[in-house]
């Protein structure tokens, strides 16, 4: 991976020098040496079983699937593939734990388990961070500084609600729903597990969690933490597998509540599948957020916000700022600054602490990104990437910017879920709002302007569940997150996040 860093560095130098400077002594090239986080802090087992009724065990039919390191294509482990019988057993274990142990347990006792899990996540944070980067492909800097700390914080936050539900604004004695079936995506594997488990458990439900097929490992390590925290058997169950496992879980009659984070397409299938069953459902789906930059934006920070918005986590973010809506009068300046800034992005080994852009999670996702990017070129948008050498093995895509994009282009409408930014322009605040809202999605939006009244006006007008003003991609367990329209319904985080798991 050092090769990629060096090439990118050299390209960055060339770009910097080409920016135009007068003759003078040539500046020395300073390359950052590889700074890998040690893989040895975590032990990756050759095989992983399901976690049902407090114990790890193989699938009933013995089937397994491989999980792979997307940066190298190296197989990491064989993981049990849960079949219908396993889902059955997990739901039964969850039901039994709900009725006999967890449901009757006072909130203050439930809280203690959650605090213990939170504390363990903090203490074993390095293991979790390395494992996450290995399995997912995201830079260690992100798993270490964002994913793992936020996951622990979610457990801490909801632990504190467990014995205060009567003050949460849902009435004097809100009851849990029962067994929650929860299906999570591959982009923030541990964090999504925390977002699902923490509020459900705090509210008194028991859980059956289905991690994504390409990223099962940190969920299983979390299961180990639950086991070691003494969490009663069956309160949390993890059934690893592919789409069929998720479908079996979602349609299982023993599940009272379904929570899904993933694509809008699958979200619609799930909503159709639970139709008429009486199961409560919350969905957190896709997005095509507008990141709106006005002519009076703090430009330097806006550029950072644009970069963060679309290249954080390789753009594998439902709330990514994938459409840059820049006021036409400053469009050239902003795009030029953006290009310069992108030359300092470092793409390569996810375990290198200096890596900014990691691997794409799977070959399927890479194919999707490539297809849409080609469509963008075919539609007539101009494509640009900073000079960037991709490693030979693994799934990689360079940060990419399309300019000359309009609303009718596929790359302005469809969620690419990769490090690809579409740049559109607008003239007036009204036009910005119209374009921003002109999408079936409605998850998030960004506003960059120095004018307070404009921020509040836009925040009111934007049909999005999360509005970031002069910042982007900020998350907190106390802050409700979720979408309007086809980005889903229900909120995760904050007091509002409890509503999904209570019978209210």
């Amino acid at each position: 991976m050092a090769k990629a860093s060096r090439a990118a560095e050299a390209a960055g130098q060339a770009a910097a020098l080409a920016r135009g400077s007068e003759p003078g002594p040539a500046a020395p090239v300073w390359q950052y040496a590889p700074a890998p986080e040690s893989r040895d802090v975590v032990s990756v087992e050759p095989e992983y079983g399901l976690f049902v009724a407090g114990a790890f065990r193989p699938a009933a039919d013995g089937r397994t699937f491989a999980t792979v390191n997307p940066a190298t294509e190296e197989p990491l482990a064989q993981v049990a593939a849960a079949g219908p019988a396993d889902v059955d057993a997990a739901v039964a274990a969850a039901r039994s734990a709900y009725e006999q142990v967890w449901g009757p347990m006072p909130g203050s006792e439930r809280a203690k388990y959650l605090y213990r899990v939170a504390r363990q996540l903090q203490e074993r944070s390095r293991e979790f961070a390395v494992l996450e980067s290995l399995d997912n492909g995201k830079p260690i800097k992100e798993s270490r500084d964002v994913d793992i700390p936020l996951a622990a914080a979610h457990f801490f936050y909801y632990a504190g609600w467990a014995d205060k539900l009567e003050y949460a604004g849902f009435g004097p004695g809100p009851r849990p729903l029962g067994v929650a079936g929860q299906v999570i995506p591959w982009n923030f594997p541990l964090l999504m597990a925390a977002w699902k488990l923490a509020p459900a458990l705090a509210a008194g439900n028991t859980c059956v969690l289905k991690p994504a097929e390409t990223t099962p490992l940190t969920a299983l390590l979390l299961a180990e933490v639950c086991q070691q925290a003494g969490l009663p058997p069956g309160v949390v169950n993890v059934v690893t597998g592919a789409g069929d496992t998720g479908a079996a879980l979602v349609s299982h009659p023993g599940v009272n509540k379904v929570a899904f984070t993933g694509s809008t397409e699958v979200g619609k299938e799930i909503a159709a599948a639970v139709a008429g069953t009486g199961k409560k459902l919350t969905l957190e789906l896709g997005g095509k957020a507008a990141n709106i930059v006005f002519d009076d934006a703090p430009i330097e920070q806006a550029v950072e916000g644009i970069v963060n918005g679309i290249f954080f986590n390789q753009g594998h973010v439902c709330c990514a700022g994938s459409r840059l809506l820049v006021q036409e009068s400053v469009a050239d300046t902003v795009v030029e600054r953006l290009r310069q800034r992108l030359t300092t992005l470092r793409l390569g080994d996810p375990l290198d602490k200096n890596t900014d852009i990691g691997a794409i999670n799977s070959s399927q996702q890479l194919a999707r990104i490539s297809e849409l990017t080609q469509a963008g070129e075919a539609e007539g948008a101009e494509r640009w990437s900073p000079p960037c050498q991709l490693p030979d093995r693994g799934y990689w895509f360079p940060p990419t910017v399309f300019t000359g994009v309009s609303q009718s282009h596929r790359i302005a409408r469809e969620e690419i879920f990769g490090p690809v930014l579409s740049v559109l322009t607008f003239r007036t605040p009204d036009e910005a709002v119209t374009k921003a809202n002109n999408t079936p999605y409605g998850l998030s939006a960004g506003i960059w302007t120095d004018k307070g009244s404009r921020i509040l006006w836009l925040a009111q007008k934007l049909r999005a569940g999360v509005v970031w003003a002069n910042t982007y991609n900020r998350f907190d367990p106390a802050s409700p997150f979720g979408g309007y329209k086809e980005s889903g319904y229900g909120r995760e985080g904050g007091r509002h996040g409890l509503a999904a798991y209570l019978d209210v």
């Binding site: 604004g169 619609k268 008429g276 979720g482």
Partner: protein, 277 residues
């Protein structure tokens, strides 16, 4: 000659574009009147009207919406006797006056929530960083409501008022067998300050109209309270087509409700802003 009551769409009273109507009978079987039998195109038009009204209704101040709803309650009070007669004939209720009084009280209760929901459903969230972070509830948009089959006035106002007081606009499918109080309510709304299109009332067959609304891509939420549980699945499947928010709750209408209906048609929007020099 028995009167044929029309639909209420966009502040006007058109006939069904299908030209159809159907007989409405009293609880004792006597023919009371005819009601328009709304069609899918009427439903389409109603959604258009509701969408058109949404911008300014949701943009009005909460105070303003509350004032309008209070005024509607006063008008209902003025017509209490008429409503009592209608309810009595329609439902055969012994104490129609009590039901009408309860319906008016219910409407007033919801009107008072207008400028309070945000304080109950909103929050300033204490995030771990130098940011001001707040959550506010916003109306979801156009809400389709299948009114209860029984409880022609009390049930009706109990499903409409909580939807519109927060800024949503509504397309209501009245009870098939007991539509007349809905039509009378529409007449009151038409002469009130409630802007055209905020409430639209379709009479006809829910079995015909509900699927149209459930599958309509420009309807944001649907209240299936008036649908028999056996019929929900098909409608929920249709609703999945645009991730419509689906709600239903059957409750004894005479009991004071909690805030669930109010809160169920809201979207929570969370805003972050850095706090720095």
């Amino acid at each position: 000659m028995r009167k044929t009551y029309k639909l209420y769409i966009g502040g006007a009273f058109p006939r069904s574009e299908s030209g159809r109507s159907y007989p409405v009978h009293a609880s004792d079987g006597t023919l009371l009147a005819y009601a328009a039998q709304g069609s899918r195109k009427d439903a389409r038009d109603a959604v258009v009207a509701a969408r058109k009204a949404f911008g300014s209704w949701s943009g009005a101040t909460a105070y303003n919406r509350g004032q309008i709803l209070y005024r509607v309650a006063e008008m209902l009070e003025g017509r209490a006797a008429q409503f009592a007669a209608e309810v009595s004939a329609t439902e055969g209720t012994a104490d129609a006056e009590a039901e009408v009084a309860a319906a008016i009280d219910r409407w007033v209760w919801y009107a008072g929530w207008s400028d309070k929901v945000a304080q109950v459903a909103g929050a300033a969230n204490p995030v771990a960083g130098p940011y001001f972070n707040f959550s506010v509830p916003e109306p979801a948009g156009v809400v389709a409501i299948i009114a209860p089959a029984e409880s022609s006035l009390l049930g009706l106002v109990s499903v409409i008022a909580p939807v519109i007081v927060t800024g949503n606009t509504a397309v209501v499918v009245a009870s098939e067998r007991q539509p007349l109080p809905a039509v009378s309510l529409a007449e009151v709304l038409a002469t009130s300050d409630l802007p055209a299109g905020v409430v639209n009332v379709l009479t006809g067959r829910p079995a015909e109209l509900a699927p149209v609304l459930a599958g309509h891509m420009d309807v944001n939420a649907i209240d299936l309270t008036g649908i028999d549980p056996a019929g929900r699945q098909a409608l929920e499947q249709l609703a999945a087509g645009n991730i419509k928010r689906v709600f239903y709750r059957n409750e004894p209408w005479a009991t004071m409700p909690g805030p669930q209906r109010l809160l169920s048609f809201l979207e929570i929007k969370t805003v972050w802003h850095p706090a720095g020099t």
